[in-house]
């Protein structure tokens, strides 16, 4: 059964006078990995931040167009943006754990949404850490400071933290760009596994990574959506000359 989870229609984003995203429209498949690639400054990050409305927090940002998640327009006036961000988790480019213990990092989300406490919270923390493939490495030191973990472990902790609030969509903004190859391989395998249960959107400017992990690929250039389709056909048989040039490394 295939479903579209997110439907982006005529999305435009401006930062003051800078028109960053230009009339972007496409649908994102449920329980699959969608990669968004393109050269630096093409609007990849802005695009995923439009899906959890993190752009709203930037002074001077203006958005037009619609983004539907499960048929609900998230730019509707009556949408609860905090509930939206619970449903749409985010993992950042640089691992950014809180300056707290491993346990407290994962428990942060459930605590602020007041969904669990005590034994129940312990279970959520364990489940999230297992899902993020970190449990075995940290189960004996849950109350250690998260800053003592390695970069790759910190990033998986950030993924566990996002999973703890039971999201449906996970946005990842170049999650491996600050990591070494071994840590990258672990995160990539994790992304594949997560896509069985979650809709995953990964921003990357690493072409091989997009090819390895994604089911669908979108190519952005200068704020415009140039190409979108299943990863295999985008890489092997691109419609646009621009995409082909990018994939073959002629620019970017």
């Amino acid at each position: 059964m295939v479903n579209d989870k997110i439907d982006i229609r005529n999305l435009n984003v401006w930062f003051r006078d800078n028109h960053v995203l230009k009339d972007v429209s496409f649908k994102i498949r449920e329980n699959a990995v969608t990669a968004i690639m393109g050269p630096s400054g093409c609007g990849k990050t802005t695009l995923i931040r439009a899906i959890n409305r993190m752009n709203d927090l930037i002074y001077g940002c203006r958005t037009s167009g619609d983004v539907y998640i499960d048929g609900h327009n998230i730019y509707d006036g009556n949408i609860n943006v905090y509930e939206l961000r619970r449903k749409v988790g985010m993992v950042f480019q640089k691992p950014n754990p809180f300056p707290k213990s491993i346990y407290e990092n994962v428990a942060f989300g459930p605590r602020i949404h007041k969904v669990a406490s005590g034994r129940e919270l312990d279970e959520i923390v364990e489940r999230s850490l297992r899902e993020a493939a970190l449990w075995d490495e940290v189960k004996d030191r849950l109350h250690d400071n998260a800053f003592n973990l390695s970069g790759g472990q910190q990033q998986r902790l950030c993924i566990a933290r996002a999973l703890a609030v039971k999201p449906e969509i996970i946005l990842m903004d170049e999650p491996c760009s600050a990591l070494d190859p071994a840590a990258t391989a672990k995160i990539e395998a994790l992304i594949r596994r997560l896509s069985k249960k979650y809709t995953v959107i990964v921003v990357t400017h690493n072409l091989q990574q997009a090819a390895r992990i994604s089911d669908f690929t979108a190519f952005l250039y200068m704020g415009k959506l140039i190409e979108y389709g299943d990863t295999k056909s985008v890489f092997e048989n691109p419609h646009s000359e621009l995409t082909e040039k990018y994939i073959t490394g002629k620019f970017g």
């Binding site: 509930e83 950014n96 809180f98 300056p99 942060f108 800053f147 933290r161």
Partner: protein
């Protein structure tokens, strides 16, 4: 001039001022030590009516604590507003500049303002409350600027992570930015206390009297203070300086122990947050 001679000259230029500072410091220290010898410690707990300084000590502490209790929270909240909530950068810059200017206003001018506004206009009279408000005015710019700097030092990534999990703006700030900025915020309050700790001019016409019958029974009564006592004894009563060394020494010790305890508090905060060293 050979390189070596040049180096010696630089060393002398840099070293002599340091030597002068050391000399002055050791002279002050020796004065203090003489003071310690002449203080009759039993006077600390004896009422001023019997020639002691009990009410002055308690009055000084009352003034400092009250002013801190006002300027601390107000200053910190103002800093949070300016850093996290103020809508436009331009406006914030103008407010910051105004705060800088406020920090440079001489204390006697602030004292005069306190007298006309708090004592006369608000009819608080010469009272502890008027003194608190006037001292708080002096502390505010320092607390605000220091706390602002501490808040701006915290990586935005903490707050972003909390927001992305669905935290409200206040929840994100109070649970991530504020704890990380706490040591810097505490430091700014220390600096604020240090500014007003020995203050005389600001309380001169707003809250002090030379002698009271016991401690103030309400915040609307005037109070005795060590610094004011020193000022009046020397300037108005012509008391020889040696006779008030004891009062000066006690004032010095109160101020020093207040800063010291605040520094200990800051160390305590840092210990709980080792990552603060990393940033």
């Amino acid at each position: 001039m050979s390189g070596q001679t040049g180096e010696r000259v630089i060393f002398a230029i840099l070293g002599v001022p340091m030597l002068i500072c050391m000399l002055i410091f050791s002279w002050i220290l020796s004065l203090l030590l003489t003071g310690i010898g002449s203080v009759r410690w039993e006077l600390l707990t004896v009422s001023a009516l019997q020639g002691g300084m009990f009410e002055m000590i308690v009055g000084t502490i009352y003034l400092l604590l009250g002013a801190t209790a006002i300027a601390g929270p107000v200053g910190i909240l103002a800093a949070i507003y300016l850093v996290e909530y103020a809508p436009s950068r331009g406006l914030t810059r103008i407010i910051d500049q105004a705060i800088n200017n406020l920090a440079g206003v001489p204390s006697i001018v602030i004292g005069l303002f306190g007298y006309t506004f708090f004592c006369r206009h608000l009819r608080l009279g010469v009272s502890l409350t008027a003194g608190w408000l006037t001292l708080a005015l002096m502390m505010l710019p320092i607390v605000i600027r220091g706390s602002e700097e501490a808040l701006r030092m915290v990586p935005a990534s903490f707050k972003e992570a909390a927001l992305a999990l669905g935290a409200t703006r206040w929840k994100a700030i109070s649970s991530t930015t504020l704890p990380a900025a706490a040591p810097g915020v505490v430091t700014s309050v220390i600096l604020g206390i240090a500014r007003v700790a020995g203050e005389t001019a600001a309380i001169l016409f707003t809250s002090c009297v030379l002698i009271t019958r016991g401690l103030p029974r309400s915040p609307l009564e005037p109070v005795m203070a060590l610094s004011y006592n020193l000022f009046v004894k020397i300037v108005a009563l012509g008391t020889p300086a040696q006779k008030v060394f004891g009062v000066a020494l006690v004032l010095f010790m109160i101020v020093t122990s207040l800063s010291l305890s605040a520094i200990l508090l800051r160390i305590h905060y840092r210990k709980g947050q080792p990552w603060l060293m990393i940033r």
